[in-house]
């Protein structure tokens, strides 16, 4: 016990001596104010990035036709594995975990089990993303930024159905076996329908119906896995490279 008391006296003397001689100087109040502002700005930017990416994922799932396939017999593990934007999902998860780690020192986060905080952030992110998606924000961003390479690559890479073997069009004619469609960009395709093709239509396909085709494309033919009849609202949800440029086919124009 005596040794500890002696040690503590030494500590006190050394610390106070360093302080009195000016060997140790405290950081100024402004140092902490500026540091806190930078910290808060960093967390805010991180949160905005998470919200942007997660709302983009929701947008991409709708715009790429992923959600249209949910009732299909082809919609299984493989469709999910091939169609989900895994890289973006991983970035969102890394962002959420980083936010969690950065906010650990705040009493409301460390006093609450991490699971609850994690779920809370996820619910918040999904809710805000759904709200953001409903305002067509991403269509507007693409409209204005499609000449900027990163924007073009992101939107066309993840949201364009053509990147996932999907295409939307309007039926021009139907013969015994195949369907002929025209896309909003006035491209014509012959859709080869086989016995394994799944037709998703409540009352059969007719000319002028709008359809979403999932299948492998080879030049001007598509080997269809799925032909799904879609309505105007569903059509408008799909990605279109000419959102802001009047398409040649007025009936397919995005409003």
């Amino acid at each position: 016990m005596e040794k500890i008391e002696q040690t503590t006296r030494e500590i006190s003397e050394k610390v106070m001596s360093a302080i009195r001689t000016g060997g140790i100087l405290p950081h100024s109040r402004w140092y902490f104010i500026i540091r806190n502002i930078i910290y808060a700005a960093f967390v805010l930017v991180l949160l905005l990035a998470i919200l942007y990416l997660s709302s983009f994922i929701l947008f991409a799932l709708q715009a790429s036709g992923f959600t249209l396939l949910s009732g299909s017999k082809f919609f299984g593990i493989m469709t999910i594995l091939n169609s989900l934007p895994w890289v973006l999902l991983l970035l969102v998860i890394i962002g959420i975990v980083s936010t969690l780690l950065l906010s650990r020192s705040a009493a409301f986060t460390y006093r609450t089990p991490t699971l609850y905080v994690f779920l809370g952030i996820i619910i918040l992110v999904i809710a805000v993303s759904a709200i953001v998606s409903s305002f067509d924000l991403h269509k507007k961003i693409y409209e204005r930024g499609h000449n900027f390479k990163p924007i073009k690559s992101l939107y066309e890479g993840f949201a364009d159905p053509e990147m996932h073997n999907g295409i939307a069009g309007e039926i021009q004619s139907i013969d015994d076996r195949n369907i002929f469609i025209i896309t909003p960009r006035n491209e014509s395709f012959e859709v080869i329908v086989s016995s394994s093709t799944e037709i998703m239509s409540s009352d059969g396909l007719t000319v002028n119906d709008k359809v979403f085709i999932q299948g492998v494309r080879k030049e001007k033919t598509i080997m269809a896995d799925i032909v799904k009849e879609i309505n105007e609202q569903e059509r408008n949800m799909l990605f279109n490279k000419s959102y802001d440029r009047a398409p040649n086919n007025p009936s397919m124009q995005i409003k």
């Binding site: 500890i4 040690t7 503590t8 500590i11 902490f32 699971l115």
Partner: protein, 179 residues
């Protein structure tokens, strides 16, 4: 001087009266030295570590919010310092997620029975404590020897109060086996 609160002393240090810091050092040096010795299980490292704690606390004194408890703040600085020392010595693995803090727990709180048990156990615990892994050793040191409550320990370790209870409960079971 004894009736002046820690927080009032800090306010005076913050406004430029650096000599008042000596009173704070005197109030906490013995406590922190005991905490360091028990947690680090190394007397020499403990002395240097406590000295560094006071230096870091002085450097960062302007960041202390005087509406909060100074003891929790300085113990938090001490915790960080000691954990860094253990990490350097490879006695503590770095983990970003601790499952103890991840899931909610329902744990028996601090009651009068437990406080009575505290006094009886103190001597036995002191002997065996160095054999516990740091994760369980630290809450035991803070609870049994620094007389902190669960919520105060939670503020020092930045973990949920229930997790403090879980760790103390598990540490006691481990200690029973060791003793």
């Amino acid at each position: 001087m004894l009736d002046i609160t820690d927080e009032s002393l800090v306010a005076q240090v913050k406004s430029g009266d650096r000599d008042k810091y000596e009173l704070l050092v005197e109030r906490y040096e013995s406590k922190l030295n005991h905490y360091a010795t028990r947690f680090l299980s190394d007397n020499d490292a403990a002395t240097d570590a406590v000295q560094d704690v006071f230096i870091k606390a002085y450097i960062n004194i302007q960041s202390f919010d005087t509406s909060k408890k100074f003891s929790s703040w300085i113990y938090r600085i001490a915790h960080n310092e000691f954990v860094n020392i253990l990490r350097k010595k490879k006695s503590l693995s770095v983990s970003f997620f601790d499952f103890d803090t991840f899931f909610p727990h329902q744990v028996e709180g601090e009651g009068s029975d437990m406080l009575a048990l505290k006094r009886e156990d103190k001597e036995r615990v002191e002997k065996a404590i160095s054999k516990l892994e740091p994760k369980y050793r630290e809450p035991i040191v803070l609870y049994y020897f620094e007389d902190m409550k669960y919520d105060e320990i939670a503020d020092v370790l930045l973990i949920p109060v229930a997790t403090v209870g879980v760790r103390i409960m598990r540490a006691k079971k481990l200690l029973e086996k060791i003793i």
